[in-house]
């Protein structure tokens, strides 16, 4: 059995790993001899940041320029600063954009809710219980991490076809529920949580289910939040699976819609750029609100991805 120490950390700090030390504040003792180096660092960073922001800004600028101007070319877009919302209005009024948002939101939320629930349950059992077949279960998890799910697109399609689920949101949701990495991250986190409470609770006659809901889940909120958001972003952005299982434009998720139904925008460059901005917007907002969770989640799942 794993140790029951480490009761001190686990809630604040990096959050994803209960045992990780809190980040260190950068002290202000920079030697003057390094001033030049830091100056150069700054310049490099600023130049890189500008280079990195440029494509997005360019798309943004184009989307606020009239279709007539943008059809002429880049130089015309740079010269024309009469900004317009026309492209956004066109997209909001017509087309299937709202249906795409709906599909992305429904598939994203349902996948996250179901996935986080079943993954945390499994991780809880693996972390806290001793049972026959545990070694097998752990082995299965380790094997699962190695399986590149994208490569399974063809057999998955065939399976969903036989299940009669093609063309419904479930064809996107259900295959993305087993997030093996989430089980792994949760288990690692649970392993680091103190056991005092649950030992007392067990002696008081509490059930495992109750320990899960009222001890583990509350303590694991930061890690569940981080994994939820990362999973949501992943599901929202996934192209491969929904591209082939959702064929009706009314049911498409945002990426699939952007990728396939361009014809209706014709060569209207500004409208296309506005559609890409609108497709990305929910995630930008999500990122700005949950910046810490997103980054922790990515770093946490990446470490053992």
């Amino acid at each position: 059995m794993s140790a029951t120490t480490n009761s001190s950390s686990g809630r604040g700090g990096v959050g994803i790993s209960a045992t990780a030390p809190p980040p260190r504040r950068v002290t202000t003792t920079i030697r003057s001899s390094n001033r030049i180096f830091d100056g150069v660092s700054w310049v490099v960073l600023v130049v890189a940041a500008i280079a990195w922001l440029l494509p997005s800004l360019w798309a943004l600028k184009t989307s606020f320029t009239s279709n007539g101007t943008s059809a002429v070319g880049a130089q015309a877009i740079l010269n024309d600063w009469a900004l317009t919302f026309d492209s956004y209005l066109t997209l909001i009024k017509g087309g299937d954009l709202w249906n795409w948002y709906l599909a992305s939101a429904v598939t994203g939320v349902l996948t996250v809710v179901i996935s986080m629930f079943v993954c945390s349950l499994a991780a809880f059992a693996l972390s806290r219980m001793n049972f026959r077949g545990k070694k097998w279960a752990m082995g299965a998890i380790l094997v699962g991490i190695m399986i590149p799910s994208q490569v399974l697109i063809v057999p998955l399609f065939a399976e969903l076809n036989q299940m009669g689920m093609l063309g419904t949101y479930w064809a996107v949701i259900l295959p993305q529920v087993p997030q093996v990495i989430a089980v792994f991250v949760f288990k690692r986190f649970f392993d680091g949580l103190p056991r005092d409470y649950e030992e007392a609770a067990l002696i008081d006659g509490a059930s495992w289910w109750r320990i899960y809901t009222s001890v583990i889940v509350p303590m694991a909120r930061p890690v569940i939040a981080a994994m939820s958001i990362v999973t949501f972003v992943w599901v929202w952005n996934n192209l491969l699976l929904p591209l082939f299982v959702l064929s009706n434009p009314k049911l498409m998720t945002i990426p699939v819609g952007l990728a396939t139904v361009q014809g209706s925008f014709g060569q209207r460059v500004s409208d296309i750029q506005a559609s890409s901005i609108l497709g990305a917007l929910p995630l930008v907002v999500l990122f700005l609100i949950f910046q810490r969770q997103v980054i922790e989640g990515v770093a946490g799942s990446g470490i053992k991805g």
Partner: protein, 452 residues
């Protein structure tokens, strides 16, 4: 420790509760409407059963014209909600979507398909047969259709598609340039061109006027056009055989194929009458801006050409450069993907097709040669210029050789078109290009037909 409540998990998710709350609100408003995307997405079933769902692959001018025709249908059939139309990326992506949607049991009621592709869809069991009874539902009969495309619409003797048009590869010319080059007759029409010598003389004359090139045709990122130009020239030669024999063997004439590629390359590289690198839009722009006198593309680019201000142009058949006239072409048609339909839905779908056929003149203004005889034989169509100068081409249009991997925008066109483009650009020799394409076809030719 607080006592556990059965549903405590959801408030514990904090901010997400907000999201799911909003979602719940959205669900109650949209789920109530049967056939809404949300209910269809969650519990399956048909989307908006009362309306016609229609998919097509029309971009550019065709797309605009099709939207006009759709609007006419809506106006005559009960308003905006009577029709839901969607346009997909042309070529394989469209046909893949159509196939997958049919497998997923959620296809559109009506879809557009090239006749060269409809056969394969039918053989894959993805289309439902159109019977005489279906035609009669909306007052149509077999004799309403132009014979050649109608025959092509049959697979194993059964009708699976209703042809809307025939769309040949044609020659566009810039009237001003050709006037200055002395290539027009007294009516302002292009003087007939016959044979390679006359053709190149005309291109050379135009090149002198433009100071750039004589003719433009798209050579990069556009496999379909490369193939159209190649196969047009190929079939103009005596002894040219079909590319495949029933899809299981390569039956093309290698000497003629090489000769054709050599000719195409001589126009771009040696004689510099045709620019080496042009994409689809770029080739058209060269004609519109007077950098060339001639331009090769399907007749549908008429819409773009007409929209260019102060631009005068004419259209005619591709000159007979070699032994016999030939022009690559295909037909757009309407198909009914296989799905359980009630008789009312069937009638609705056929009614939509009929409405589109009735508007064939609108479609013909976009360059296409109608298949629907009442329009084809009408005086209004016969008077359309410049359409009337190439309408006769229907009789000798060459459709792509049938195979499970061929047809407009197919894997076949993608493979060979890419190589033709490289040859035209001078990146590959004719032999290299053909060998590379043939090597890729071998797999297809040797593979059991998955549709059989």
């Amino acid at each position: 420790m607080s006592s556990p409540t059965p549903h405590r998990a959801s408030p514990r998710f904090g901010r997400r509760a907000l999201l799911s709350g909003a979602l719940g609100a959205a669900a109650t408003t949209t789920l109530s409407a049967c056939g809404s995307p949300l209910s269809a997405g969650l519990v399956g079933g048909q989307l908006a059963p009362g309306t016609v769902q229609y998919w097509n692959l029309f971009g550019g001018g065709d797309g605009v014209r099709m939207i006009t025709m759709e609007d006419v249908y809506r106006k005559n059939h009960g308003g905006p909600s009577s029709l839901e139309a969607a346009t997909f990326t042309w070529g394989n992506p469209y046909y893949t979507k159509l196939s997958l949607a049919t497998l997923a049991n959620s296809p559109p009621d009506v879809a557009v398909a090239h006749l060269t592709r409809a056969t394969n869809l039918a053989r894959g069991g993805l289309l439902s047969e159109i019977t005489d009874a279906d035609l009669a539902l909306v007052g149509l009969s077999q004799s309403d259709f132009s014979a050649k495309p109608f025959e092509k619409a049959k697979t194993d003797g059964k009708l699976y598609a209703l042809p809307l048009d025939t769309h040949p590869f044609v020659l566009y010319y810039n009237t001003d340039v050709c006037q200055k080059a002395g290539l027009l007759d007294s009516d302002g029409l292009l003087k007939p061109i016959q044979g390679a010598a006359e053709f190149e003389a005309a291109l050379t004359a135009a090149k002198k006027v433009t100071g750039a090139y004589g003719l433009s045709v798209s050579t990069i990122a556009d496999q379909a056009t490369c193939w159209r130009w190649f196969t047009t020239l190929y079939h103009q030669q005596n002894g040219a055989t079909e590319f495949f024999g029933n899809g299981r063997e390569l039956t093309y004439n290698q000497d003629i194929a090489i000769k054709t590629l050599e000719y195409m390359q001589s126009l771009t590289i040696k004689k510099e009458l045709v620019p080496t690198t042009n994409d689809y839009a770029g080739a058209g722009t060269m004609l519109f801006t007077g950098k060339v006198g001639f331009y090769l593309e399907g007749e549908w680019e008429i819409t773009t050409a007409q929209s260019v201000k102060d631009f005068k142009f004419g259209m005619t058949t591709i000159p007979q450069i070699f032994d016999q006239p030939a022009t690559q072409g295909d037909s757009h048609s309407f198909v009914l993907p296989k799905v359980k339909h009630t008789p009312e839905q069937r009638k609705l779908a056929m009614g939509f097709v009929k409405s589109m056929l009735d508007q064939s003149l609108t479609w013909a203004k976009g360059g296409h040669i109608p298949s629907y005889k009442p329009v084809l034989d009408s005086q209004q169509y016969r008077d359309l210029t410049p359409q009337k100068y190439y309408a006769g081409v229907v009789d000798y249009v060459t459709y792509d050789s049938p195979a499970w991997y061929s047809g407009s925008g197919s894997t076949f066109e993608n493979i060979i078109g890419a190589q033709i483009g490289l040859v035209e650009q001078g990146i590959a020799t004719p032999k290299q290009g053909l060998d590379a394409a043939v090597a890729q076809f071998k797999t297809y030719v040797n593979t059991a037909d998955p549709l059989a």
